[in-house]
């Protein structure tokens, strides 16, 4: 793959409104790696693949096409950290590539605003940007300190785990291993975080989250790493909700970009780690002590 000098960072809704550390750390590490992340002026919700695609598929595909087209206007590939946004944007990309009639209809509606969907640029996940566009070797060269002795569970997220691009799971795992931590593979890695079930049954969704968390506790996981902001929301809020019901979970959840920024030598305050609701500092303290608790 060719080296990207600039790339459109599709933020989605969750990073700017609740998980700024993911956005800030992402921008920091990409700049460290010689890639310029571009904000997409006027981007909207992707829109989400659960609700919008079900209720209003034509608006869903038109908005997704519009978001990609705005990135294309900047002559850049577009990437996202959110597994849901990735699903929407790649799905819409394929639909618009394969269905000429749909492409024409979407473009008729977008052309009223001077926007044209061309589909000439790629839609990528952050995993692909880091692994394929930048490459592990370049990442390794930037690493100044490691997460020695920290036991990390990976929350891949269903839309990555079940994605037709099967290599995404392996690539994410390799990206985490580069940080020098102990990757803890769990039986529950295949369990959904519980987000989609929340729309139907919040109690069952929380039970599912609990099942995942209990497996992590049993296997002495220190922290969870992920990209997906929806999984983040569920796994962090899930712990807080369960703690109100007499549990005692305290497994901090990190966006992968945060751990990478830390390993690149940035201090957690630089990327807003203080916005986490669980004790994140113990992880960096453990890493600094070489893995001693």
């Amino acid at each position: 793959m060719t080296e990207a000098k600039k790339i459109a960072f599709y933020l989605g809704c969750a990073l700017p409104s609740a998980q700024l550390f993911g956005e800030a750390a992402g921008k920091i590490v990409l700049k460290d790696l010689g890639v310029e992340p571009l904000d997409i002026e006027g981007a909207t919700c992707c829109p989400d693949p659960e609700i919008s695609r079900t209720v209003a598929p034509e608006l869903w595909v038109t908005m997704a096409g519009r978001n990609i087209a705005l990135a294309e206007k900047m002559d850049a590939d577009v990437f996202t950290v959110c597994n849901g946004c990735y699903d929407t944007l790649t799905h819409a990309y394929h639909m618009l590539s394969e269905d000429e009639q749909l492409n024409k209809k979407v473009n008729e509606n977008l052309m009223k605003f001077g926007i044209q969907y061309q589909g000439k640029h790629r839609v990528l996940h952050a995993i692909e940007v880091l692994y394929d566009v930048i490459g592990l070797e370049r990442i390794k060269k930037q690493i100044k300190r490691k997460l020695t002795g920290v036991r990390v569970a990976i929350q891949y997220g269903c839309r990555i785990r079940l994605n037709p691009k099967k290599e995404l799971v392996r690539k994410f795992r390799e990206l985490v291993a580069v940080l020098g931590c102990e990757v803890v593979d769990l039986e529950s890695d295949r369990i959904c975080c519980g987000v989609p079930m929340m729309y139907k049954d919040q109690k069952k969704a929380l039970e599912q989250t609990k099942m995942r968390l209990d497996d992590m506790v049993k296997n002495k996981v220190d922290c969870i790493v992920l990209f997906c902001p929806a999984c983040y929301d569920r796994l962090e809020k899930g712990q807080l909700e369960l703690n109100q019901q007499d549990a005692d979970y305290d497994i901090p959840v990190f966006n992968y970009f945060e751990l990478l920024a830390y390993c690149f030598g940035h201090e957690p305050d630089e990327f807003g780690a203080y916005l986490h609701k669980l004790d994140y500092e113990k992880i960096f303290e453990k890493a600094q002590s070489g893995g001693k608790p």
Binding site: L20, P47, M95
Partner: protein, 91 residues
């Protein structure tokens, strides 16, 4: 409520009624083009983290106008009974 569902996803079961859990997200999209609100706290915090102002639809009225026009053109507002004066779903 699902003519366009038939076109794009012909095998999908028809949705006859908008589930209550979906209302908030649909309202946010029709109001601001995003599916959740942007708290002022996080907007202020951007300055501390030096990541620039929000450039997405939350603070871009033209983007919001475009999404609202698209929703009207595609008949989504009627489909979900969206009241434009109150910016809410009626039922």
């Amino acid at each position: 409520m699902s003519e366009d569902q038939d076109n794009l996803y012909p095998l999908r079961k028809k949705m006859l009624k908008l589930p209550a859990a979906y209302k908030g997200a649909i309202e946010e999209i029709l109001r601001e083009g995003m599916n959740r609100e942007l708290p002022g706290f996080f907007e202020d915090e951007r300055e501390n983290l030096d990541i620039g102002e929000v450039k997405t639809a939350w603070r871009n009225e033209e983007a919001q106008r475009q999404i609202q026009e698209l929703a009207k053109t595609l008949g989504i507002d009627e489909k979900v009974a969206f009241d434009w004066s109150k910016k809410k779903i009626k039922y």
